[in-house]
């Protein structure tokens, strides 16, 4: 077994284990911190795939902004936020059935997919992936249109947020 495979298994175990803890832990704030562990695991997987930029953006955006926003919301509401009710309700059999069905569906789909046999093309040592990514984002033949659409969407959200906040202030 190669070292990268061992590392992949470790990170996958961390991601799955912490994701399981997110849904089973009783305290809301602990769930948020377990979610952060999951996000770090995903960032580690990105780093293993030579996608350093994605790994860093994963941490900056998801850990640095979204997870902190979650924790902020939890801290502002109540102190304990304990989930005292039983974690399962009476529909759990149906839910488990659906989960099993979608899992087996995905499993058969991916089992028939031949993409797994492909090996990733070797990156040359002096290739600067981040320059390539930057160029691809502003090249019309590559990802210029999705990039611009995403920026327009974000700008619209920004203006909307300012408008809503302004309205609340003037009332």
């Amino acid at each position: 077994m190669q070292i990268t495979q061992i590392l992949f298994l470790i990170f996958a175990a961390i991601i799955l284990g912490s994701a399981f803890k997110v849904v089973t832990t009783k305290k809301m704030i602990h769930a948020a911190f377990w979610l952060i562990v999951t996000l770090f695991g995903v960032a580690a997987l990105y780093a293993m795939l030579n996608a350093g930029f994605m790994a860093m953006v994963q941490i900056v955006v998801y850990v640095g902004a979204i997870a902190i926003l979650f924790i902020f919301a939890i801290m502002l509401t109540r102190k304990e936020l304990l989930d005292s009710a039983a974690p399962l309700n009476k529909n759990w059999t149906v839910a488990a059935l659906f989960a099993l069905l979608s899992f087996s569906g995905l499993f058969t789909l991916l089992n028939n997919w031949r993409g797994f046999a492909n090996t990733a093309p070797e990156l040359s040592a002096d290739m600067d992936t981040i320059t390539e990514l930057g160029t691809a984002l502003v090249t019309p033949n590559a990802y210029l249109l999705p990039f611009e659409v995403a920026s327009v969407l974000l700008l619209a959200a920004l203006i909307g947020a300012v408008y809503v906040a302004n309205e609340a202030k003037s009332e």
């Binding site: 911190f33 860093m56 902190i68």
Partner: protein, 396 residues
């Protein structure tokens, strides 16, 4: 001579030779040497930290017209060791109702977020932990771990003052991250690289001449990110006891304190790296990486002193002023600077006029900003004065 030219790789090669001569496999030996190297590097950072405590106390004493520690050792240089002994023998208190795991994890995360930054600090051309091509993004990502540690500490302490400190910190760090990222983007545009080594290599002329205003923005947002005065609202003694570390005792508090000092020094290093050419100093760096590293540390210490100078000169600002200053002034200015730098840099690309053009455009922006602020202040004052007579009339 080899050692003088490339100390790290020479040590690595000789260690590898002696390790593998005993029959150890090369992969294992490499991993072991890396681990030893990381350990030594971190130890160096921590030992430096001990002396930063002494420097900090000495400098603050001078600013406040005192002598500072002067009893233990010459100039009181062994004072930090007495401090450490004191911190170690203090009672370790965990408050009732505290979240024990998060409470103990928080100081570790605080220290970790600083030590992570040392991985990309380019002391000299061949003396750098790892030259990430996304180095500057890594700086921001490590900062978010620092924010996380403060939230952990504030929430887990089960103390209202600690929670309030955490709230303030989050508001401050998340907002000041934006001008900081914009300032780093200006540098990225100028250097054409996000890696720390690439940025140093691009500075034939230090970037302070390309972007003086960006330097000021980065300095302000770095001080805010550090949570030092005038942005030390998260531990404002006169309002919320000690903020997020109210409940911490002994060495756990020591870790927060040491983390803050080392963080300041690290940011001093990043200021030197981004704006003052890192290890470059009038061609003196040609003498070898060790000289370069010494120059780098010297510059980092100087900017650490600048951060202290600001800390002990400026009083704390109010929280609404802090937020308004960021969102209404610093962020727009940083984005304007980014746009102007990109435009001017593009127009004067490969020309000798690049530096004067950028410098003059910075001066122009600074002048326009000051004029705008003056007119804004005049308007505000007129509004106030228009209100005053009516207020007096209602009184009588």
């Amino acid at each position: 001579m080899e050692f003088w030219k490339d100390p790290i790789n020479t040590i690595f090669a000789s260690l590898l030779k002696s390790f593998t001569s005993g029959g150890m496999s090369e992969v294992l030996a490499t991993i072991l040497i890396w681990l030893i190297g990381i350990l030594l590097f971190v130890t160096f950072a921590m030992v430096l930290d001990i002396f930063l405590v002494w420097i900090e106390r000495k400098v603050v004493a001078r600013f406040q017209d005192r002598l500072g520690p002067n009893r233990i050792g010459p100039f009181g240089i062994f004072q930090p060791f007495a401090d450490i002994v004191k911190l170690l023998i203090k009672e370790d208190i965990t408050p009732v109702g505290a979240d024990v795991i998060l409470f103990n994890l928080a100081p570790i995360f605080s220290m970790m977020s600083v030590l992570l930054l040392w991985a990309i600090m380019p002391f000299a051309p061949l003396m750098v932990g790892v030259d990430l091509n996304v180095g500057m993004l890594y700086l921001v990502a490590a900062g978010s771990i620092g924010t996380l540690s403060v939230i952990m500490a504030g929430w887990a302490s089960n103390n209202k003052y600690a929670t309030m400190g955490a709230f303030r910190t989050v508001a401050q760090m998340i907002s000041y991250e934006i001008p900081m990222v914009a300032a780093i983007l200006v540098i990225t545009v100028l250097a054409g690289s996000m890696g720390a080594v690439g940025i140093v290599e691009a500075q034939e002329i230090p970037f302070i001449f390309y972007a003086p205003l960006t330097f000021i923005i980065f300095l302000i947002s770095a001080i805010a990110e550090l949570g030092r005065s005038p942005f030390d609202l998260n531990e404002a003694e006169s309002e919320i006891v000690a903020g997020f570390h109210t409940e911490y005792t002994g060495m756990k508090f020591g870790l927060f304190y040491a983390g803050e000092l080392l963080h300041s020094f690290t940011f001093g290093g990043f200021i030197a790296l981004l704006f003052f050419g890192g290890h470059r100093f009038f061609g003196l760096e040609e003498l070898g990486p060790i000289v370069g590293a010494l120059i780098f540390i010297g510059k980092a210490l100087f900017f650490y002193w600048v951060i202290m100078w600001v800390k002990y000169t400026v009083p704390r600002i109010r929280i609404d002023h802090m937020l308004a200053f960021n969102w209404k002034f610093l962020t727009p200015l940083a984005f304007i600077l980014l746009m102007v730098t990109a435009l001017v840099g593009r127009l004067f690309l490969e020309s000798n006029w690049l530096v004067p053009a950028l410098f003059l455009s910075n001066i122009l922006i600074a002048w326009l900003t000051v004029e705008y602020l003056k007119s804004h202040a005049r308007k505000e004052r007129e509004k106030e004065e228009a209100l005053k007579p009516s207020a007096q009339m209602t009184q009588h």
